[in-house]
C-alpha cells in the first residue's frame, strides 16, 4: 500500500468540499480522478499534498513512510514532499527573480539532505537537469529564466513534469496537467509522466477529459461529484464518460 485516503471530509473556510472520500493506491498503479468542474478533484490532490487552506475535519490520510502506513496530518507540505509526494500544479506559480535552475537545485538538495545523500553541486546538477530536457522538448534557456515567469501554458506544464522527473517522487499527484495543452504538448507531457511509471511509483491524475488517458493508461478511474466518489471502475469507465458525459452518473446524486 502506498496511499490510503480514509473517509476524508475536508473543508475550506467552513465550506465542505470533500465528503467521506475513500481511495487506496498501491505502488505501480495509475489512478485517474475525473469529474465535472467544481466536483472537488483539485481539492483532493491539495489535501494530500497538505495545502494549509484545507482542513481535514474527519478521516485521515495515510502514506507509506519507511514501509509503514503513517498518518500524515502532522506533516508540513515540505515534509510530505520530502517523503515522496509530488503535486503537479494546475496553475504553476511564478517566482520573480528566482531562476528555474536555482529553484530546482534547492528542491533537489533538500531531498538529498532528507535522504542522507550527498548534495549535488551546481555544475553537476545542471548536467543532470540537461539530461532530462530532450525528453520534454525543452531548451536549456528554460533553466535560466525566472520560475514560470512569462512561460506559456504548455511551458509551465512541461516545467512541472521536469520537476517531477528530477525529484522522482513515489507518489505523483498531477492536477489537470493536460489542461491548456495542444496535442503535441499533451503527448510530450504524457511521455514524461510515463517515464516515471514503475512498480515503485504511483501516479494519480486529476483530469476533466479522458484524452490524457489515451496516453497514460489508468488502472483505476474514480468519478468525483459534489465531493463524493460516485463511481469507480477501470479504463472503460473513462471511455464511457467520454461518450455519454457525466450527466447519466450525476442524475442519481443530485
Amino acid at each position: 500500500m502506498m496511499l490510503e485516503v480514509n473517509n476524508v471530509t475536508a473543508s475550506v473556510e467552513e465550506t465542505t468540499i470533500l465528503n467521506k472520500i475513500n481511495i487506496k493506491v498501491n505502488a505501480g498503479e495509475v489512478h485517474a480522478i475525473m469529474g465535472p468542474n467544481g466536483s472537488g478533484k483539485s481539492t483532493l490532490s491539495k489535501v494530500i499534498a497538505g495545502h494549509p487552506d484545507y482542513e481535514v475535519t474527519e478521516g485521515d490520510v495515510k502514506f507509506a513512510i519507511n514501509g509503514k502506513m503513517t498518518d500524515i496530518e502532522e506533516l508540513e507540505p515540505d515534509e510530505r514532499a520530502k517523503e515522496g509526494i509530488f503535486l503537479g500544479f494546475q496553475y504553476p506559480i511564478e517566482i520573480p527573480g528566482v531562476t528555474n535552475i536555482t529553484f530546482m537545485h534547492e528542491a533537489f538538495n533538500a531531498l538529498c539532505e532528507h535522504q542522507g545523500a550527498e548534495i549535488m553541486n551546481e555544475k553537476d546538477f545542471r548536467e543532470y537537469v540537461k539530461s532530462k530536457l530532450p525528453l520534454l522538448h525543452m531548451n536549456e534557456n528554460f533553466l535560466d529564466r525566472a520560475v514560470n515567469e512569462g512561460f506559456s501554458g504548455g511551458e509551465k506544464k512541461k516545467n512541472e513534469i521536469l520537476q517531477m522527473l528530477l525529484l522522482n517522487p513515489r507518489l505523483a499527484l498531477l492536477d489537470e496537467t493536460d489542461s491548456g495543452l495542444d496535442i503535441d504538448a499533451l503527448k510530450t507531457v504524457a511521455n514524461g509522466v510515463n517515464t516515471l511509471k514503475s512498480k515503485h511509483n504511483a501516479i494519480v491524475l486529476v483530469t476533466h477529459y479522458q484524452r490524457l488517458l489515451d496516453y497514460i493508461k489508468p488502472d483505476f478511474v474514480h468519478v468525483l461529484y459534489n465531493g463524493k466518489i460516485i463511481k469507480s471502475g477501470d479504463k472503460s469507465l473513462a471511455l464511457e464518460l467520454e461518450k455519454k458525459g457525466y450527466d447519466w452518473l450525476i442524475e442519481d446524486h443530485k
Binding site: H51, D78, V98, M104, L111, L167
Partner: protein, 478 residues
C-alpha cells in the same frame, strides 16, 4: 527557558556591550561643548569657526516634521556628544596596541584588526563611539598615494583638502541634522584617491556605537581625483538597549573628471525590540557631487536595522555625461519605520541616473520610499530610470511611495515604474510542495525580489546582506 522573546532577542547577535572605561564630555549641547570637541582634537581655528557657525544656525532651526515617521521628541540636552575609550589616550595608536577588550569586540563583530588576522583585500577604519580607533593597511595604501584615515587625522595631515571640500556637498544649512552634525561631528573616515589611481583594495568603515546615551555624529569625506576609482563599504552595529540612541552622520563624496566611487552600506543598527522599545534613530545625510565630466557615483544600501531611518543618499550630476545610481533594499519589521530614497539632481548635459528601490515591510512596520528626480534647464538629454517595488509580508505593515519628478528641460527622458506585491501563500505553498522548507522558501522569494540590488554589492557584502535579511524575516512569515 526559551520563550519566543528570547528567540527574538537572540536574533540581534551584535547586541552585546563592551565593558570599558570611558572618557566623556558632560551631557548637553552648547558652544562650550562644541569648542571642547574642537580643542580636544586640536583643530585649526577655521574648523572651530565652522562648527560654531553650524551650531548657531542649528539653534535657529526646528525639528523637521515633513517625514512620514512618528518621531518621539528628542532631548538634545540629555545626550553625550563625545565619548571614547579612555585607553585610547589623546593620540591615535597603532592597531596592535589597542586595548585587548576593543580588539576582542571587533573580532566578535567579525572584523579582526590585529596585523596577523586582518582581512586581506579590504582596508578597514573602525569608529567606536566618537573616535576612530585606527585603520588597517594604511601603509600599503600610502605607497600608491591613497589617503585613508580618520577625518580627525586628515584635519592635521591634509588640512588643505579638508578645508577645500568639507561642507561643500552638504552645507550645514542643508537640514537640521546636517547642521547638528557639522557642529559636533567627532570622527569618521577620510579618503583621498589621487589622480589616475584605482584603489588597490576596497576601503571600508565599521561604525560601532557602544556607550549609553551617546549620540554618534560621524563625518565621512571621500574625494576621488581625476580618473581614479574606489569601492567603499560601510557597516554598522550597536548594543541592544531599551533607550533610543541617536546616530546623525554626514557623508560627502566628490568625484572629479572621469572618477568613479561606489559606496555600499549594510546598515544593521539595533532596531528595538518587537514592541518598538529602544533602537537607533538613524538620521543621515549622504550626498555625492559628480563634479567632473564622465564621473560616476553609485550608492548601494541594505537598510535592515534602526528603529527609525531617514536617509536619502543622493547625487548632484554637475559634470557633463556624469552618472548617478541608487540601489536600495530597505527591510522593516516589528515596529521599525524607514523613510528612505534618493535625490538625483541633473545639471550637466547627457547626465544619467538610475534608481532601483526594493522595500520589504513585515509585522507592524512602515516602509517609505521618497525620491526626487530633478532635471535642471541646463541638463540637455538627461535620462533617468526609476523602479520602486514594495513587498508586504503580513497585513499589518505598510509601504508608501512618494516620488517627485521635476523636469525643466524638455529633452529629458524620465521613466518611473512602481509595483507592490505580497509574499503570497500560493508562492510559499508551491515551494513547500517541492520540499523546500519555510525559511528557505522565504529567502528564495526575497532574494529574487532584491536581486537587482544585491548584484551591485561586492560578493562578501551580498552574502552578509542576504543572511541578514533572511534572519530578520524568519520570525515574520509563516
Amino acid at each position: 527557558m526559551s520563550s519566543i522573546e528570547d528567540k527574538l532577542n537572540e536574533d540581534y547577535k551584535w547586541g552585546f556591550e563592551t565593558q570599558i572605561e570611558l572618557e566623556e564630555f558632560p551631557k548637553g549641547l552648547n558652544e562650550k561643548i562644541v569648542t571642547l570637541i574642537s580643542k580636544k582634537k586640536e583643530e585649526p581655528e577655521w574648523l572651530l569657526e565652522y562648527r560654531l557657525k553650524a551650531f548657531r544656525h542649528w539653534k535657529t532651526m526646528t525639528h523637521p516634521t515633513w517625514q512620514y515617521s512618528k518621531v518621539p521628541p528628542i532631548d538634545f540636552e540629555d545626550l553625550y556628544y563625545y565619548s571614547k575609550p579612555k585607553s585610547q589616550g589623546d593620540k591615535p595608536k597603532s592597531l596592535d596596541d589597542l586595548d585587548p577588550e576593543l580588539l576582542a569586540t571587533f573580532e566578535k563583530l567579525g572584523i579582526p584588526l590585529s596585523e596577523q588576522k586582518r582581512i586581506s583585500g579590504v582596508a578597514v577604519d573602525v569608529v567606536f563611539d566618537s573616535v576612530s580607533l585606527g585603520t588597517t593597511w594604511k601603509e600599503d595604501l600610502e605607497k600608491v598615494g591613497v589617503v585613508f584615515c580618520s577625518i580627525s587625522e586628515a584635519v592635521q595631515t591634509h588640512p588643505e583638502l579638508v578645508k577645500q571640500y568639507l561642507g561643500k556637498v552638504v552645507p550645514y544649512t542643508d537640514n537640521y541634522y546636517a547642521a547638528l552634525n557639522a557642529a559636533v561631528f567627532s570622527d569618521g573616515s577620510f579618503v583621498y584617491i589621487p589622480k589616475g589611481v584605482t584603489c588597490p583594495m576596497d576601503l571600508s568603515t565599521y561604525f560601532r556605537i557602544n556607550a549609553k546615551e551617546t549620540g554618534q555624529f560621524e563625518r565621512t569625506l571621500i574625494i576621488a581625483d581625476e580618473g581614479s576609482y574606489v569601492n567603499y563599504l560601510e557597516g554598522c552595529t550597536a548594543p541592544q538597549r531599551d533607550e533610543n540612541q541617536l546616530h546623525a552622520a554626514t557623508v560627502e563624496i566628490i568625484t572629479l573628471d572621469n572618477a568613479q566611487v561606489k559606496y555600499s552600506t549594510v546598515q544593521n543598527w539595533y532596531a528595538g525590540d518587537k514592541d518598538g522599545k529602544g533602537g537607533i534613530f538613524n538620521f543621515v545625510t549622504k550626498r555625492g557631487l559628480c563634479s567632473g565630466i564622465n564621473s560616476k557615483i553609485s550608492w548601494t544600501q541594505v537598510e535592515a536595522g534602526s528603529a527609525i531611518t531617514w536617509k536619502y543618499p543622493s547625487c548632484i550630476l554637475k559634470g557633463d555625461n556624469s552618472e548617478g545610481a541608487f540601489y536600495s533594499v530597505a527591510l522593516t519589521n516589528n515596529k521599525m519605520q524607514a523613510d528612505t530614497g534618493t535625490k538625483m539632481i541633473h545639471i550637466g548635459k547627457n547626465t544619467k541616473s538610475t534608481i532601483i528601490s526594493k522595500g520589504i515591510s513585515a509585522d507592524d512596520s512602515e516602509n517609505v520610499y521618497r525620491g526626487e528626480v530633478k532635471i535642471m534647464p541646463s541638463a540637455t538629454n538627461a535620462r533617468n530610470y526609476s523602479q520602486c517595488d514594495s513587498m508586504l509580508v503580513g497585513d499589518k505593515c505598510s509601504a508608501n511611495t512618494f516620488p517627485y519628478i521635476d523636469v525643466k528641460n524638455n529633452t529629458a527622458t524620465v521613466e518611473h515604474e512602481a509595483s507592490t506585491s505580497k509574499i503570497s501563500a500560493d508562492q510559499l505553498f508551491y515551494l513547500h510542495s517541492r520540499g523546500i522548507d519555510n525559511e528557505k522558501a522565504i529567502s528564495l522569494i526575497v532574494n529574487g525580489f532584491c536581486k537587482d540590488v544585491f548584484k551591485t554589492l561586492p560578493l562578501e557584502f551580498s552574502v552578509e546582506a542576504v543572511k541578514l535579511i533572511e534572519m530578520k524575516l524568519e520570525n515574520s512569515v509563516g
